[in-house]
């Protein structure tokens, strides 16, 4: 048994850079006879251009459609046969692909990734594109359009970020843009971003680092390096002077109030203090917002606060659903009141200590799986530049003080920086019928 997540949380790893620029990170833990192989590309929806939103995510779907020697359906099939699972996700800053397999089959995902990186273009046809375009459009319908409040996040991003800001459009993409994406768009995106120099490969689990490096070299070391990407300067933090506010209708029964603020990016000291603030505000029944809005004030059915770990800037959000008969303005004002209290009077050391413990509880839970550890290391390598930089983030929590929490609240969560979106109930009607279908 390993205890690498010790009382001070550690995810020790070793990094080696292959000749073609691929960074390989190895983290050994022999708690279970499994290995996660995780490939992350510094390519997300922020790398799309207006008019072609959704491209990064559509390419993720296409990347599961097979490659020359592992044709359609092969990817899932061959992994399931060895008791493995796989998935991929696309977000604002990155796209990732990961497979978890029993130790005996660790070469299987590497071979599949080799084929995808080396022999993908021959299978990328118009037919494949059309099919996955349909799947993605259904994903958009299922996850966003056909779900109550499902369109709120998209609108919130549009309000918080100026039009040209790469975080202003949704990762899933706009329907009209999805329709426009061409085969050439997909090929170009793949050729630009899916290169060894723009990727990190992480092994986490029951495998020795030397063996991991050997396998990485064997399967991916001879792939051509590809073009080197130029680093784009980060756009300035959007400030929404004076604040912005909008109401939108949806087929829902209760109003919901969203507030968002642009804050510094993942891993910075202020981001860490804001994470503690997010827990202090809404995690646990004793937290400030739960107490003021749900338990004492009885204005909201639920209230949550969250912080995106994004690179160009973070996004601090607060979202609550009004109880019946409660006007959303009352809820909105109560949230503002809680934030103003924190800014004016600060918080107690006991609140901060409890919040840090709850952060730690969640980190420990998340990092119990090799998939999460691999993802965390890959993200640190991608966004912070070094997998080991994760320890700066993990250790940073212990140093957060009540004064820090008050300072970041005052600096970033003032009313004139807020984007507010209020979802207002629209109308709906239902009826039913029964037919003989046999």
């Amino acid at each position: 048994m390993s205890t690498s997540i010790s009382s001070s949380i550690r995810i020790p790893s070793t990094t080696r850079v292959l000749g073609n620029g691929l960074r390989v990170v190895a983290h050994q833990d022999s708690g279970a006879p499994i290995v996660t192989v995780h490939l992350m590309f510094r390519a997300g929806s922020r790398d799309e251009r207006p008019g072609r939103t959704g491209l990064a995510h559509l390419l993720e779907h296409l990347f599961f459609e097979g490659s020359q020697h592992a044709p359609k359906g092969h990817f899932d099939d061959v992994l399931e046969r060895v008791g493995g699972t796989n998935n991929g996700t696309t977000w604002l800053d990155r796209t990732n692909y990961y497979e978890t397999v029993p130790t005996h089959a660790v070469e299987v995902p590497l071979w599949l990734e080799r084929d995808r990186l080396g022999f993908f273009l021959p299978i990328l046809t118009g037919e494949v594109l059309e099919l996955q375009r349909g799947v993605v459009m259904n994903e958009r319908r299922q996850v966003y359009e056909n779900r109550p409040y499902g369109m709120a996040d998209e609108r919130l991003h549009e309000l918080l970020f100026p039009d040209a800001h790469p975080y202003s459009w949704p990762t899933i993409g706009y329907m009209r843009d999805l329709e426009q994406i061409t085969l050439d768009d997909a090929r170009e995106f793949y050729q630009t971003y899916y290169t060894p120099g723009n990727a990190v490969l992480v092994f986490a689990g029951d495998i020795a680092p030397e063996r991991a490096f050997e396998l990485a070299e064997k399967y991916l070391g001879d792939l051509p390096a590809g073009p080197v990407l130029e680093t784009q300067p980060a756009p300035p933090l959007p400030a929404s002077p004076g604040g912005v506010r909008e109401e939108m209708e949806d087929d829902v029964s209760f109003p919901r109030v969203h507030q968002a603020f642009a804050v510094p990016g993942y891993g910075t000291p202020d981001w860490i203090a804001l994470d503690v603030l997010a827990y202090l505000l809404a995690d646990g029944d004793s937290s400030r917002l739960q107490r003021a809005l749900v338990r004492d004030g009885r204005l909201a059915q639920d209230i949550d606060s969250y912080l995106y770990p994004t690179a160009l800037c973070g996004l601090f959000g607060i979202v609550g659903t009004a109880r019946s008969e409660i006007e959303p303005q009352a809820l909105e004002q109560a949230v503002r009141q809680v934030l103003d209290d924190v800014i004016r009077d600060g918080v107690t050391e006991a609140e901060v200590t409890g919040a840090i413990r709850r952060v730690r509880r969640d980190l420990v839970s998340e990092l119990a799986t090799m998939e999460e550890r691999a993802d965390t290391l890959a993200y640190a390598a991608t966004v912070l530049g070094d997998a080991d930089a994760i320890h700066g983030v993990l250790d940073g929590y212990a140093n957060v003080t009540a004064a820090d929490v008050q300072r970041v609240a005052a600096t970033y969560l003032s009313p004139d920086r807020a984007a507010t979106l209020v979802v207002i109930p629209g109308e709906e009607e239902e009826d039913e019928e029964v037919r003989d279908a046999a």
Partner: protein, 440 residues
């Protein structure tokens, strides 16, 4: 990258799979009847405890559906030792997460503690379970929240489809036919005294069980549990379930719930399943894996998603229960292809009943089920969950140790036999929430 410049080499052949290391927990029964399963595992400094009692919605008073659920939610809302606010402060201060969930059969409290706060955590856990005080003020708040949640739930077509499907299979007189959280009328009308009485009668150690997994010392756990739960005693009333049926009342029918401006139709094809302890459970699991156990590679997903591009996913599953549960296949598709999707799903179900599934497909299902075992036991919460399953459904102690052999023993003939029993379309009801231009 240019494919012609990269050498191709053949796919690797995996070696011998690792022997699944299934933890062998220590089990004991306390003097008061509380059964304990302890599976220490020191990978992360965390302890996950799940305590389950046969106090689910099946025990609801007939006139107050939702009682069991409300009682569960009120456990952490104040005890005879601490007010609701004091309790919240103590738990949050420990960095603990304690939450209750109430299903049809069991009420369950899950506690996640950092190892260094285990002793104080168990004391609070016992307080929550044994001594809730149901303060008037918190009862009214949670009642109002629950009523709002029921209204909000109906905003989502998937929930409407889910609830309707259960009702179609089991009917309103069976606990599995109603949502475990009850009905608005039941929750609105249940007096505080009924809640306290339900707790008094049902929250008893006999028939309850506690599963612990994570970084702890078993002897120490035993001492802490004796201290915290030793004085607890008694047995809950037995819950009687209505006799099972083989067929839903509307078998063969289509129930259409129109939804204006739906972006998709939510489709459920549902029927009666089988007893969790049935020897056929393994054959049924293999058969289901082939049909829709995996959302992309199952026959349903391969057809509707990968071949047609009509949906983001399609899957099917047997639902376990203390008595016979259900079976369901589900997807969400473009409104315009609703009838076609239904036809394809029925076709795939029918095909399972018309002949033996090829050996290669059966092999794939078995490998996926058996070789994924190590992953199921990766984390403390994973380990706890696997052993909760054994205790909840009365499965043998060696269930996980013999799981691979039992899956391996399933034959193609077994798969056909269970497919005929559960996947024959005329034995199921179709529920569609959305729109459908023409009939399938």
């Amino acid at each position: 990258m240019q494919p012609e410049t990269i050498p191709f080499f053949p796919a690797p052949v995996p070696g011998q799979p690792p022997r699944p290391r299934v933890p062998r927990p220590e089990r004991w029964t306390m003097d008061n009847g509380l059964h304990v399963v302890a599976a220490p595992r020191a990978t992360v400094p965390q302890v996950v405890i799940r305590l389950a009692l046969p106090a689910g919605s099946a025990g609801d008073p007939a006139e107050h559906p939702g009682t069991a659920s409300l009682v569960g939610h009120l456990l952490t809302e104040g005890t005879t030792t601490y007010s609701a606010d004091e309790l919240a402060e103590r738990l949050d201060g420990l960095g603990a997460a304690v939450s209750a969930s109430v299903g049809h059969d069991y009420a369950e409290v899950e506690a996640v503690f950092l190892t260094e706060t285990l002793a104080e955590g168990i004391t609070l856990l016992a307080d929550v379970l044994l001594r809730p005080s149901f303060p008037e003020r918190e009862v009214e708040r949670v009642r109002a929240e629950s009523l709002d949640a029921i209204v909000g739930r109906e905003d989502e077509p998937a929930n409407v489809a889910e609830d309707r499907a259960a009702l179609e299979v089991f009917g309103a007189d069976h606990p599995y036919g109603l949502p475990a959280f009850g009905t608005a009328a039941g929750i609105a009308g249940v007096p505080r005294e009924v809640l306290a009485d339900f707790h008094e009668r049902f929250y008893r150690p006999t028939g309850a069980f506690l599963v612990a997994s994570g970084d702890f010392d078993t002897a120490e756990l035993k001492r802490l549990l004796d201290e915290a739960f030793g004085a607890w005693s008694g047995a809950p009333p037995a819950i009687t379930y209505p006799a099972g049926t083989e067929l839903p009342p509307r078998a063969g029918k289509l129930v259409l719930v129109p939804w204006d401006d739906a972006a998709q139709s939510e489709i459920r094809i549902v029927g009666v399943g089988l007893d969790r302890r049935s020897p056929d459970w393994f054959a049924a699991s293999v058969a289901n894996y082939v049909l829709g156990g995996s959302t992309i590679t199952g026959r349903l997903g391969a057809n509707l998603r990968e071949d047609k591009g009509w949906t983001y996913g399609a899957r099917s599953s047997f639902q376990p229960g203390v008595v016979t549960g259900g079976w369901s296949a589900e997807t969400a598709v473009d409104v315009g292809v609703t009838a076609d999707a239904l036809r394809e799903m029925i076709g795939e179900m029918r095909r399972m009943t018309e002949g033996l599934v090829p050996d290669a497909e059966i092999r794939r299902a078995k490998d996926a089920m058996i070789l994924s075992l190590p992953r199921l036991f990766e984390t403390p919460s994973g380990v706890a969950g696997r052993f909760v399953t054994l205790e909840a459904y009365g499965l043998p102690d060696d269930y996980w140790e013999t799981y691979a052999d039992r899956v391996e023993a399933v034959t193609a003939e077994d798969v056909l036999r269970v497919a005929e029993r559960f996947f024959a379309p005329e034995r199921t009801v179709r529920v569609v929430v959305g729109g459908m231009a023409e009939e399938g």
